[in-house]
Symmetry: none
């Protein structure tokens, strides 16, 4: 489960956000100020930090600096609307995104998911049906048994994981895997690799449930 550290001193916002984010499947812990935040960050691992710029105790920027210098976690700033200075400073400090208040919950979720995707920052294990992929160990398994993916097959699977739910066109996939920069890669190569990957991760490769074909558009994992 993706764990979020919320640093915010407005109690009502905290209450609302904790409830909302929990409903959305995140695990949330909150701190109201700088000291509490750093204490929590030291004790346990978080996958993302939501950071209010204006804290009673210190300000969000110092928390961001402290966290970024110590951990490799994406940080999203919650800033006062139109506060250009905060935005700018936030980015300078390495924030991954900023969200001006007031924001819609939906918007927040989108930003969070987006940043998690971009930074590959989700937990380290992803479950796709009965296949689990551990991006730290670098293996895909079923029932604990290694599926022995080749390097390319694994990379392909990662691309799908990082874009779960989205259709990925052939050209996108080719670009992501073969890093085309003028090089010409046979279009069919991808098709063959999709087949190989399916052969290994699908229970019934003829009727794939994990990697779906979206004819004319590409492929999608939405399990």
């Amino acid at each position: 489960m993706t764990k979020i550290l919320l640093v915010e001193d407005d109690k009502s916002i905290v209450t609302n956000l904790v409830e909302f984010l929990t409903e959305e499947g995140f695990s949330v812990k909150s701190a109201s100020g700088q000291s509490g935040a750093l204490e929590l960050a030291e004790k346990e691992h978080f996958d993302m930090v939501l950071l209010d710029v204006s804290l009673a105790d210190g300000n969000g920027f110092s928390v961001c600096s402290a966290i970024k210098s110590e951990y490799d976690i994406p940080v999203i700033f919650l800033t006062a609307s139109g506060d250009e200075y905060s935005t700018v400073t936030g980015f300078e400090l390495g924030a991954d995104d900023y969200i001006p208040k007031p924001f819609r919950p939906r918007e927040l979720i989108m930003r969070i998911r987006n940043i998690l995707r971009l930074t590959g920052g989700n937990g380290s294990v992803t479950q796709l049906g009965d296949v689990s992929v551990d991006t730290v160990k670098g293996v895909a398994t079923r029932d604990g048994k290694d599926l022995y993916l080749s390097a390319l097959e694994y990379r392909l699977l990662l691309v799908f994981i990082n874009n779960r739910g989205a259709v990925l066109s052939r050209s996108q996939l080719l670009e992501a895997i073969w890093d085309i920069a003028g090089e010409f890669v046979n279009d069919n190569t991808l098709t063959v690799y999709i087949k190989r990957l399916r052969e290994k991760i699908e229970k019934d490769p003829q009727n794939p449930t994990i990697i779906k074909t979206v004819r004319g558009l590409g492929y999608r994992v939405d399990i």
Copy 2:
């Protein structure tokens, strides 16, 4: 239809982006420098500007200032990777987002949609009666069930979605879908595809409620 003004002087990037964005249902026009960009912006309305920071003629910042002072259009900067200065300056000038190169097309689309949504534009899921279209997943569904649109049917539907409420003439549709540039496409082809699309998305294809025929003018989605 969401119209994008692309200001970029690298021909290959322009070619790729125009193709990709068009496929995604946007209408794109491009300019290679400051003067061309401002000229275009004056002539027609755009919903968003994609702006390269480094132009041969002037730089992206001046284009941004000029556009922002005149029009209320979101601007996304395309910056060299890690170019903090550009990012900062871009935001100071009122840019709505920035995307460091090299970027993945998908990422770009997400950013574009996001900004359009924030600024009161698009969204990734559109509801047409009981049919919903998710442009990220690349599917149209009813009651959660895939309607299995073909690539062309899907593209056609996207054009309608991006022009909700407006009558689209046959020639407009033909142009949008078949990208006519001298090529001759049988006029009836469109009629046939309208029928096919209705067959799949309408409850009663004989009495369409989503895609209405406007005799003599074209078709319209105003649900």
